[in-house]
């Protein structure tokens, strides 16, 4: 840096005269100005970059938070469902009845609720048994609330208010909310045993008890006596269903994603089975074995283009090919093959990139020892590039999970309240049908969400948000697996 002549005064408080653009800066002040302006550009660029990142994060965060606010609550709700012929639980309703004139009085009603062994460990199990006073009946003791915790065998709640049954067909339903002497059991997210409502019908002959659904239950003791005891063995229990274990339904509180996420899992299985072996083998062939000429260059361009084809076009192609030509129908197999083809270019490209990252020195070392091409590929290239291959495959699969358009095109239905048949079924009789699930109709989570958002009832939109939360969590989990796999596989390999 040249210094100015000693006679020049140091004018640090005044900016130097602007220099013409055709001349390089010479004086220290000019150089300082130039450096400051270049640094400023750097700083501005840094700030702009930071702003962009912040904007992206804020948008992403807003999306996720909005989804979560709507949906997370729904994920933990349960409702009670009367199952169809599953393992019976037991409960006793014991009470005495006294005839008072023409009326019968049933009291006290004691309900014993048995705990079953297989309470879900995932939820907070608390059974609250409440006794609700009847309208108009003021002789009700304080409601006896019992909290039932894991480890407790029984919870007993005693209703001290008598249930009055008048003759002539007035029915009082035990177990229904709001009626004297009734027991209402509620879950706070656990398995619950709720006594089935009993309908008590009084007639001059005595009382009749009928279980919910009008099935008569056995009554011990004489029905027509003045007093006696009633003991009933109940044969069913309510099972709480959560969002994940319920089928779709017309009622938003009962609708769940069971068929949707099972469908997603099965379709992903078929997709992986179709895309991964084929894609990895194609990638290895194209990278290692194929000669580099115009044809292979054309193939490479085509594969890169196919990765960007709109997914609905894949759906159209699959409709013509799998549904109509191969007669596979609107089934899990079709969906899996369609998504497999969609994901195939991604897997091929990821495989090629991973193989290219294996250094040529390793390859040369293996070849120089007299190994064949396949020995080199099998012993070195594939193991060292496996982390990249798996990462790319998982990313491809996590894209396929969210693809809706091709599945709608091949005719995935939106209301599927059943599961594909399992390969081995034990009841009603043993049947082995290993591939029946492939040809069964199905639904997947994005389609279920689409179905719910197109309904006017806003409660369904809440369901859709909850399903969205599950989908996002699934995608994040898959990507996390990809990252962990890549880290662990790469740790062993250092070039």
């Amino acid at each position: 840096m040249t210094t100015s002549t000693p006679t020049e005064p140091r004018e640090t408080h005044r900016a130097p005269a602007p220099r013409p653009a055709s001349r390089l800066p010479t004086s220290p002040a000019e150089i300082k100005l130039l450096i400051a302006s270049r640094k400023r550009v750097d700083r501005v660029f840094g700030v702009v970059g930071m702003l962009c990142i912040l904007f992206a994060l804020v948008t992403l965060g807003a999306l996720l938070i909005d989804l979560a606010i709507d949906g997370v609550g729904r994920l933990t709700e349960t409702h009670l469902v009367k199952p169809d012929g599953t393992v019976p639980g037991r409960r006793e309703i014991a009470g005495t009845f006294i005839r008072q004139g023409d009326a019968f009085v049933l009291s006290p009603v004691r309900v014993r609720v048995n705990a079953d062994q297989n309470l879900s460990p995932l939820v907070d199990q608390r059974l609250m048994v409440e006794v609700m006073p009847a309208a108009g009946n003021t002789e009700v003791d304080a409601a006896d609330l019992k909290t039932f915790r894991p480890g407790d065998d029984t919870a007993t709640a005693t209703a001290t208010a008598p249930a009055v049954v008048a003759p002539g067909g007035v029915a009082t339903e035990l177990g229904r909310r709001g009626t004297a002497g009734t027991i209402a059991a509620r879950t706070l997210g656990g398995f619950v045993f709720v006594p089935d409502p009993l309908r008590v019908t009084a007639s001059p002959d005595g009382i009749d008890l009928a279980a919910f659904g009008d099935e008569p239950v056995a009554v011990e003791g004489s029905r027509s006596a003045t007093e006696g005891t009633v003991r009933v063995d109940e044969v069913s229990r309510f099972v709480p269903k959560s969002f994940f274990t319920s089928m779709p339904s017309r009622e938003p509180n009962r609708a769940g994603i069971l068929s949707a996420w099972v469908g997603t899992m099965l379709v992903m299985l078929v997709t992986a089975a179709a895309a991964l072996p084929l894609g990895i083998a194609a990638g290895i062939y194209l990278e290692e074995y194929a000669r580099k000429n115009k044809l292979t260059a054309l193939i490479e361009i085509n594969i890169a283009n196919l990765a960007g084809v709109p997914s609905i076009i894949w759906g159209l192609m699959a409709l013509g090919l799998f549904v109509y030509l191969f007669h596979l129908g609107h089934s899990v197999a079709t969906a899996g093959l369609t998504l497999g083809l969609l994901v195939l270019p991604i897997v091929i490209i990821a495989t090629r990139e991973a193989i290219r990252s294996v250094p040529a020195t390793i390859r040369e070392a293996s070849i120089a020892l007299g190994a064949t091409k396949w020995q080199t590929v099998r012993n070195h290239i594939i193991p060292y590039s496996m982390s990249g291959i798996l990462t790319g495959s998982i990313i491809g699969l996590s894209r396929a999970i969210g693809e809706t358009a091709p599945l709608i095109t091949i005719g995935a239905l939106t209301y599927i309240p059943f599961l594909p048949p399992p390969p081995v079924q034990f009841e009603p009789e043993l049947s082995v049908q290993p591939f029946a699930w492939l040809t069964s109709p199905f639904t997947v989570m994005p389609i279920q969400m689409f179905n719910w958002t197109s309904r006017p009832d806003p409660a369904f939109h809440r369901n859709a948000a909850a399903a969205g939360v599950v989908l996002v969590a699934l995608t994040l989990a898959m990507n996390a697996v990809a990252i962990v796999l890549r880290y662990r596989l790469r740790k062993r390999i250092k070039w």
């Binding site: 000669r291 580099k292 250094p359 020195t361 390793i362 390859r363 040369e364 070392a365 293996s366 070849i367 120089a368 020892l369 007299g370 190994a371 064949t372 020995q375 012993n379 070195h380 060292y384 062993r492 390999i493 250092k494 070039w495």
Partner: protein
């Protein structure tokens, strides 16, 4: 065993007896030419490689010594667009290594190479050495154990790694890795070993160890070593060939090349006036 192709019209040596004529030859390079695509890298090389001796190839950068080395184990076949010309006769079977009917893999099974930058596989030390045997179908544990030990002893590495045979080879130092690569190349009993500037990336102590190793190995294996370090050639080799711009300038016993070369170019190079 003098080969069928008698030493004829090397443009370099006219009437004096070919150096190394008194020793049996392992390989004879006759009028070798090589093209990288359109560019000619080697022109009419004639060289006689003596059996169980160390022959060094020296020369300034870009003279084609590595190219020549890689012709011997057909490494150029890996990349498209390369063409060989001439013959490389391997004794005693008299096969032309770059002939049309010869499978490159067969050549490489008999001629091994050690590269400039140590490139052990990211596997265990044991697996590195055993790899050559495994790809030849030898998988019996006892055989592999014995071969691995004898090879590592032969490469002067056994004492340093005998208690960590199954650790990753990448945990070794640079010099140890290079000796491992030499052991890996030796495990299959090659007839010829090619060294492509093996100590270029190593410190002087490691270099010394490897040069000592080469000195021991020469009794069992024919060695061809490319080096840009003239002093290394002087220390290690029996015969030296100087190359320049793709041509063989002079080939003679090492002592002669360094003390009494015939060509002016040789003298200028070995005295350091260019290069």
């Amino acid at each position: 065993m003098v080969s069928v192709a008698a030493p004829r019209a090397c443009s370099i040596h006219q009437d004096e007896a070919h150096p190394a004529a008194d020793l049996p030859a392992k390989a004879e390079i006759e009028h070798l030419g090589f093209h990288y695509g359109a560019r000619q890298a080697l022109k009419d090389i004639n060289l006689r490689i003596a059996e169980n001796r160390v022959t060094a190839l020296i020369g300034p950068s870009g003279c084609g010594k590595s190219t020549l080395l890689r012709c011997l184990n057909r490494m150029h076949d890996l990349y498209p667009g390369n063409r060989y010309a001439g013959r490389i006769i391997l004794h005693p079977e008299q096969i032309d290594l770059i002939g049309p009917g010869i499978e490159p893999m067969e050549v490489r099974m008999r001629i091994s190479m050690v590269f400039q930058k140590p490139n052990p596989f990211p596997k265990s030390i044991y697996e590195n050495v055993a790899y050559g045997l495994r790809i030849r179908g030898v998988n019996a544990r006892s055989v592999l154990d014995e071969r691995v030990e004898s090879t590592l002893r032969g490469a002067a590495l056994w004492d340093e790694v005998k208690d960590r045979l199954h650790d990753s080879a990448l945990g070794l130092s640079g010099g140890q890795q290079q000796r491992l690569c030499i052991a890996r190349a030796l495990a299959t009993d090659p007839e010829m070993l090619l060294f492509d500037e093996p100590t270029a990336a190593l410190d002087p102590r490691a270099t010394r160890k490897i040069e000592d190793l080469i000195g021991e190995l020469r009794q069992r294996v024919t060695i061809l070593i490319v080096t840009h370090n003239m002093q290394q050639a002087a220390r290690v080799s029996d015969f030296t060939a100087l190359m320049y711009l793709g041509e063989l300038v002079e080939f003679d016993r090492t002592a002669t090349i360094f003390t009494n070369p015939s060509k002016k170019l040789t003298e200028e190079y070995v005295t350091g006036r260019f290069g």
